[in-house]
Symmetry: C2
Subunit: 384 residues, 2 copies
């Protein structure tokens, strides 16, 4: 994701703006730049009607790919494990298949979800709200492999490098991110080789990726080829520059980590092709959606049909997995023709509530504002 | 796809612009509107590095969905066949599975591919170049089912209705398109229930879709539920308003049909995250790509490294299927540091050549201009 904090002005012409010395570009226009469009046409969002499915069907899960999708030869591929370990490892896929496997249903959301609704906003992937998906990931617990290598006494972090290479903020790099050791050793953190019971698709990290439940997606490094146990904090670009909540470019900032609570609804009725305006007939509607948080299970979802003036509790569905989104439903009597603004907001067990307005930050991260869907209610029989 | 020719101004606010009486909106700005972004974040393109694969992996094939993806109950679903037939049919999926199946590898491209590069452009899905994909589709030849129903003597067209409903140009509608009878009876036209050997994913038309090889994708109606044999040309919105090449809103225009020739290359080297600028080291590069045409097999692909000043023939790969794209390769000696513009263009056996500039039209259809990729060549060892 976001090259938001890079010292790199994003220009419309791909041959311009390569000086790493310029301040980051912020956009206050309600229009979007060619650079944003180039990212939006490459990266894939979840059309919100696909909140219908407990597990997101193949091809509908969100995708944010910083550089290009590598085409990896699985026979030649190895996972190297090194740094502050007792024994360096070089594992084949077969080596990993031979270890005890674990499957987790996990909701992953991009840290930049909601960025395009901020003003001003950084020029990066312009997500509205669709950067999410839920899949069953199967693989080896990361801890199994770390324990096989033997963690050195001074270890504090573990870094994960992907095979995808590119330039960001003027630095050529492979995508690489780290986790504090305690987070890396959690039971649910996986080295995943299957998604929904099939080999990983190329775009989701074939042949192996990290999956860190509860954290924004930037942590779950795809096309993983090297794990390094570190005796000091990792200072690579994606940790030092990107994915930090700051107000000004010179701030050190706080790293983005776990997903803040969010709820989304399936937009009711039918859409206008181009405006996506929703049209529904008067009557009783069973509103449905999903909610999740990286800080705790979902404790409550509330819904509103008057733009957030008044709220009612939605009914929560079962929570089959701590790490996957939870279904909710709410019955709405659409009694009056005209425009109504539907809203939903989630609260997690840690007490975090979705805000009406999320605090702004330079990179446009973690904007978990209340979901709002305006709909036009029409008389029965009044088509369109 | 495109609601380009509708009498419907597209507004930034989803509650505005619903009057069907206003002229179509054209955008001359180099920036993109919120309406365009909403479409771009829903619809999925093929990241061009995925031209690597003969068959596009699940989830990387382009998707253009006018309304919402319907969630269809396959057990309750029926394919109704009616109109000018001897016997109306109501077929279950099992009925279709019992008929002789056929598999075709088919390249499908959106008629609006290239639209975002036009000026002025209609406010619709803002594709750059990524609206393409190739899959193996398995199903029953349409002709088998039409012959089972018995085609009436006065039949001239066959229309295909999907289960996806929405509003376009002020008209509430199910997506519906037709084919001339002679085209509908061609051997390769399928009622497909499998994509790459698996059940159709929801977003590709589960449980059944039409696949019309050689034609732009708007013809291959998804979520098919009704086939109607007609004794006069179909005049529904998607035939009468959309998908016509016209210069002015009041023109009758020509219907969009077969895919014009196009070639695309895999962008070489590594990208900058946000600008997508390509960086490559000096040396010999094996450029690769794909080419296709709905008017005939690909006869020639040419490449250029100087923005189209001079052209060389690329080497063509095998053409395993008439209806799928053909691979090509071209060796380029990147000898001089600096910016170079790589180009490719295809010629089909009918003699159609990709133009340097495609003729403009109001809906932004069939823009098959030469593919251009600027790259920055750097000295070996000069990272980024």
């Amino acid at each position: 994701m976001p090259d938001c904090d890079s010292g790199h002005r994003i220009a419309a012409d791909p041959m311009e703006g390569t000086s790493p010395a310029e301040p980051p570009g912020l956009e206050t226009s309600e229009q979007f730049t060619p650079a944003e469009l180039r990212l939006a046409t490459r990266n894939h969002g979840l059309p919100l009607e696909a909140l219908e499915y407990d597990l997101t069907p193949a091809g509908l899960h969100y995708l944010l790919i910083h550089y290009d999708i590598p085409a990896v030869d699985a026979a030649a591929w190895r996972l190297e494990v090194g740094g502050r370990v007792d024994t360096e490892l070089s594992l084949t896929l077969s080596d990993l298949f031979a270890l005890a496997a674990r499957t987790e249903a996990v909701t992953l959301e991009c840290a930049g979800n909601g960025r395009a609704q901020l003003s001003p906003r950084p020029i990066s992937q312009p997500w509205l709200l669709e950067a999410v998906g839920t899949a069953e990931w199967t693989g080896v617990p990361l801890r199994t492999v770390l324990e096989q290598a033997g963690i050195g006494g001074k270890a504090v972090e573990v870094s994960f490098r992907g095979l995808d290479r590119g330039v960001e903020g003027g630095e050529e790099q492979a995508y690489e991110r780290s986790l504090p050791l305690a987070d890396a050793l959690r039971d649910e953190v996986l080295l995943a080789y299957e998604m929904n019971g099939e080999s990983l698709p190329p775009q989701h990290g074939f042949p192996l990726r990290l999956v860190v439940p509860g954290w924004y997606g930037m942590t779950s490094v795809k096309w993983l080829d090297r794990i390094t146990v570190l005796d000091r904090p990792f200072t690579g670009y994606q940790q030092r520059q990107s994915y930090r909540v700051r107000q000004r470019p010179e701030d050190e900032g706080e790293p983005v980590s776990r997903m803040l609570p969010r709820s989304l609804m399936i937009p009711p009725g039918i859409p206008d092709f181009a405006t996506r305006e929703r049209r529904i007939a008067m009557g009783t509607w069973r509103m449905r959606g999903r909610a999740w948080s990286g800080f705790g299970a979902i404790a409550r979802v509330e819904a509103s049909a008057d733009g957030g003036e008044s709220w009612s509790d939605a009914e929560l569905g079962p929570q089959p997995s701590r790490w996957a989104w939870r279904a909710w439903e709410w019955e709405w009597d659409a009694e009056r023709p005209g425009v109504h603004e539907l809203c939903c907001r989630a609260t997690d067990e840690a007490g975090n509530v979705q805000p009406v307005t999320a605090p702004w930050n330079l990179g446009g991260y973690a904007n978990n504002e209340v979901h709002r869907v305006p709909v036009v209610v029409h008389e029965p029989g009044d088509s369109a």
